[in-house]
Symmetry: C2
């Protein structure tokens, strides 16, 4: 269905104008003054659109468009408005605005749905201000304890709960998402796949699981001048060998497997001392539990073998594991149908990033819609999506909501 | 010749007892109170041994045993007493004490040499307190300007010159080493070669030249989850590849070539972001100018080729170059003869580390004697040399001084 493109653009520009960095990036950290201003505008627009506004105890803002059947479970749609520091214009924010515009367009088109349509703006998805990410959806899905989240502090020692109270968005636990029929999250891809293949939409079938490993390789620190190459147990040379081999193995393992070594530290970190110890991180992702476990095992074996060959010792610790998500098949099908009916060139895709939808999927049938990210840029001012794709994404969102109302899930 | 082993041991223990760390390491930073106490003891012992004491404007302490021929150029022998923080018991200090004991033993043996024998205790060899190393010998050899050295500050902002004055060791420029016939520096190897081959002494023929490079590889920072392996330009994976290949090439280049990558930094250094930029240092050493230039060229070519293959850009800057040193052949021969005459199992060796002798070699005929370092340990409390090797090293030092007096150089 057609949505009001002009209104959508005007509203997005208004919120994206609240706090802009020198580079043109967004600075809307969770529960900051900028976040409060964005929430206030959202609340105003929801009320103006005939929606009832509620806030839950984690600060998540809901806007309810009443359905005709009081017995029908509500359908949720949304994302988050908080950003990374110097983040992009569409990450998260697109999903909230697509939800708002599609709900209001449905109402204005006099289409009466049985279910309530509920917009959700989740608190602190980015994890940029309060670590870790997805704190509000994490509580809803039972991943985190409420009090633990309340006590989370930002780098200035300010508590999550205190900021909720300060900006006036500490609501009631009774307002939380419950007994939902479905949750739909429209989002930018944050990766290069759709853009590089010229696709207009991604039908998201699930999300990669994540395994996080910390690796410490211990060799022998030695003088850079007096230690012949043949007498060295150079922890950095060994780490380099291991990093190359585990990434080569990951490529052979096949897509969507990814391995990232994002952090590395050599000790003592002196230009003229052979490194005696090297730490590096591994972020390993795959879309099935068994596959992820297998890739983790192979990765550890490769590192251990390389270290043993060079006479170094190694310690590998798993610090994080998030299971892969498989989204609800019926919702995935609704997204695929709606994309087809809108004449879009779409493809099935697995999300490599974490989203509120990944947590919500544990407790509510869930699906996602991806719009393309130009060159896959994300978490930076250069993040961008063509405006026509934002409009198409919003229209498909409306169509999927209508479809979800009509089917059994 | 026999030296007074008991006196040598007692004196070494006394100075090594001045400032000991929890780990049993030495803490005798240049121009610190501990260094002053060590200098004061050295001065006392030199005077007691009938030597005339002088201090030059860089703080270097000299002790002169007068020769019989006023026209003969003096023969210098020594090293340094400053240590690394938590350093070893023999690094530098052995050379000073071997010089003291051998000069006094020569005097006590009523051997009259034509040349003055001059002990030299160079200031700030380690570069641990005032960067860079070998500041005093660097001024003598014309590498550094006096005022530039005077203005060097430690991490607390205290000036070299002010500390010289504070501890009472700012002497006269006229006392500097001049018109010397030879300079001999006994030192521990600080490497594993002699120890691993079971050798008792190293006849040092020169020192490796050093080329220092800073390398920055620029790829593309990307999301660890949403960027398929095929879409990445991972600066750390590329750096790993380059590091492995340049070290493999160095091994093929052959000994004594060494390459050390001691520092590495990945940016943005986040566990879930593919590194967009990696910095690493290269310390490359070889014993000939031409060979060092060739190895540097090969090393840069390899890095550039690896980067080009992966679509990354690279910037390589040379921040340091010290030419290889070739010691005086006649002095080297004197050391070899003395080692043989003492029945020692010795070998020719090239120093991989920098020493005052490397700078002094530019202006005075120079040679070095190495005693073994157990397991090659250095700059740490575990640094050690067997006592018999300390004694043998001192006796050979005395014998070399006698030989140097008798030959033309």
């Amino acid at each position: 269905m057609k949505i009001n493109e002009t209104r959508l653009k005007k509203r997005m520009d208004e919120i994206n104008g609240i706090s802009v960095t020198e580079d043109g990036g967004m600075m809307r950290l969770a529960l900051s003054d900028a976040d409060k201003k964005a929430r206030d505008l959202l609340v105003t627009w929801m009320k103006a659109g005939g929606m009832e506004v509620k806030v839950d105890d984690m600060g998540t803002v809901y806007g309810v468009l009443k359905g005709t059947d009081p017995d029908a479970s509500p359908i949720y749609v949304g994302s988050h408005m908080d950003t990374q520091p110097n983040g992009g214009r569409f990450d998260g924010f697109f999903g909230v605005m697509a939800a708002l515009e599609s709900i209001i367009s449905i109402k204005e088109s006099n289409i009466n749905l049985k279910s309530d349509l509920v917009l959700a703006d989740w608190t602190n998805e980015e994890g940029a201000r309060f670590v870790p990410p997805m704190l509000a959806s994490g509580v809803i899905s039972g991943q985190f304890e409420k009090q633990w989240v309340y006590d989370k502090q930002d780098i200035d020692g300010i508590r999550y709960e205190d900021e909720l109270i300060r900006i006036g968005y500490k609501g009631d636990e009774r307002n939380r998402m419950t007994k939902a029929k479905a949750y739909l999250e429209p989002h930018i891809e944050q990766g290069p796949v759709l853009d590089s293949l010229g696709k207009e939409m991604g039908i998201v079938t699930g999300a990669l699981g994540i395994t996080g490993l910390d690796v410490i390789i211990r060799g022998e620190a030695n003088h850079a001048g007096t230690t012949p190459m043949s007498h060295r147990i150079d922890a950095l040379e060994i780490a380099s060998d291991a990093i190359l081999r585990i990434q080569e193995n990951c490529r052979e393992f096949g897509e969507p497997a990814v391995i990232t070594v994002g952090r590395i530290e050599a000790k003592p970190s002196s230009k003229n001392i052979v490194p005696g110890e090297v730490y590096f991180s591994i972020d390993l992702r795959y879309h099935t539990d068994e596959g992820m476990a297998l890739l983790e095992e192979q990765t550890c074996n490769i590192i251990e073998k390389v270290c043993a060959k060079h006479g170094a010792s190694v310690e590998i610790k798993r610090y994080w594991r998030a299971a892969p998500a498989v989204f609800n098949e019926k919702i995935v099908n609704c997204v695929a149908e709606a994309a087809d009916e809108n004449g879009l060139d779409s493809m099935k895709i697995i999300s490599g990033a974490g989203h509120d939808a990944v947590f919500i999927n544990d407790v509510v049938p869930t699906g996602m819609i991806f719009v393309p990210s130009i060159k896959g840029m994300s978490h930076c001012p250069q993040e961008n999506t063509e405006w026509k794709d934002i409009v198409k994404g919003t229209e498909v969102t409306a169509d999927v909501l209508i479809k979800l109302d009509s089917i059994e899930i």
